[in-house]
Symmetry: C2
Subunit: 292 residues, 2 copies
Amino acid sequence: MKIYITEVAPRDGLQNINQIINTEKKIEFVNKLSETGVDEIEVSSFVSPKVIPQLSDAEEVFKSIKRNNNVIYSALVPNEKGLERALNVSVDKISVFTSASETFNLKNTNSTIEDSLSKFKNIIKISKESKKLTRAYISTAFWCPYEGKINPYKVKEIAIKLLEFGVDEISIGDTVGKASPDEVSELLEIILNDIHHDKIVLHFHTTYGMAMANVYVAYKNFSIYKFDSSAGGLGGCPFVPGAKGNIATEDLVYMLKRLNANVNVDIKKILMAFNVLEIEPQSYISKVINLI
Amino acid sequence: MKIYITEVAPRDGLQNINQIINTEKKIEFVNKLSETGVDEIEVSSFVSPKVIPQLSDAEEVFKSIKRNNNVIYSALVPNEKGLERALNVSVDKISVFTSASETFNLKNTNSTIEDSLSKFKNIIKISKESKKLTRAYISTAFWCPYEGKINPYKVKEIAIKLLEFGVDEISIGDTVGKASPDEVSELLEIILNDIHHDKIVLHFHTTYGMAMANVYVAYKNFSIYKFDSSAGGLGGCPFVPGAKGNIATEDLVYMLKRLNANVNVDIKKILMAFNVLEIEPQSYISKVINLI
């Protein structure tokens, strides 16, 4: 199966850094990422500019990027207003976002999980009527900074509801970066009993150093082939200043290539795209790029 | 099986950094490491001071450290002169060092592998007569910067010869840090057909980001329970300035604990020991130590 990579640096990465990146750079970043071989780029988020000022230029970015027909351009939408904005600029794929932790969801979105889900039902319906692809994120799917370990059956229950609404895929996020490879195996064993692995994307953070081992076990033992990653490891962890965040696209792709996975992303081009931001990349491969 | 950790920062770590650490600090570092729960500390190397000035105080360090009876204090010896020096200061365990790559061995030690082995035969004999434990390193066991991919059967052949000489264990090193989890599996499948896993130690570098995945697969699929690691990730890669080097003890121990391995190393104490060096640790866990 061909590996499917969603490049999340322009949204998840930029959202979690303090430095403000101007619109022109974002556009150039997305344009260069479009030529790297990644399958999807999460370009921005149609949240209120008050909530995430870094992404307040979502419309402008979407209107100005040069689209590659082989790439899907997605965006996060938190509500129907966000969906309307996204549809106005012809976003290819609509992503909604909930958490598997009740406390985290309340703090992050001011809704219970149930309220989030009922809100998403309509967003997904409209998106599908508009012929858009859809994704749902389930964040803090392993550990929550407030609730601790999350019950994998809770994640499965939420995933099944979202799939009943018609979402095309579920991105299961280890937001805290604390999942061990055994916990990833446990969750996948439980989930894949009822959900086809085609529907599952894994979104790992490297905060505790286990993201690469997690990718390995998911790919090797459970045939998961869809992963989220962030060029240059852009992102950090919102709960731990100074800690590492998203798994770096170049590290992920390098390992998958070395496992003979079918992955067509050009690592050098990923790093050249990242250079646009003038930020030091946080990855292993950026240090040894001339040796691969 | 209880995990067996050899802490290599005082030798392998310090050998690969430019900053000179004074003898007093090294002694304090080793003394603090002795109280962390690691099973073995590779304290220094009895090489010529001209070759590695950083470790020219090997005798002084060994004479001054306060030994914990639960810890084995080992040292590298390159030749019989080094062995004599090591025996004079009552080193517990003698380590010899060859490479699985002919070219690497020639460049690193000015000997063919065959010449290295015949030299080791006598060093191991004398060490055993002196009631010392022994270890042999096989470095560049997966990839060589000069020869590329190393044939795993070559590694096995060298390992078997060394075991015939009577060494207690073989530390198989991914010196370049380029081994993939699949290559680790391949080598272990080949080697463990003829060598008991008790005899095998794995020594991973994180240069290409795969060390944690490699530990995972070795522990989980092949029951390997002996690992080398370096407090604070001290070390770097001699061939790639700026690249990461040894797997960090704190990252290794954290993951093993999360896999419910029987490992009794105190991560906080590892980082407190590392603080003695006044060097910024290169690890994930050092960033999130307050959250574990």
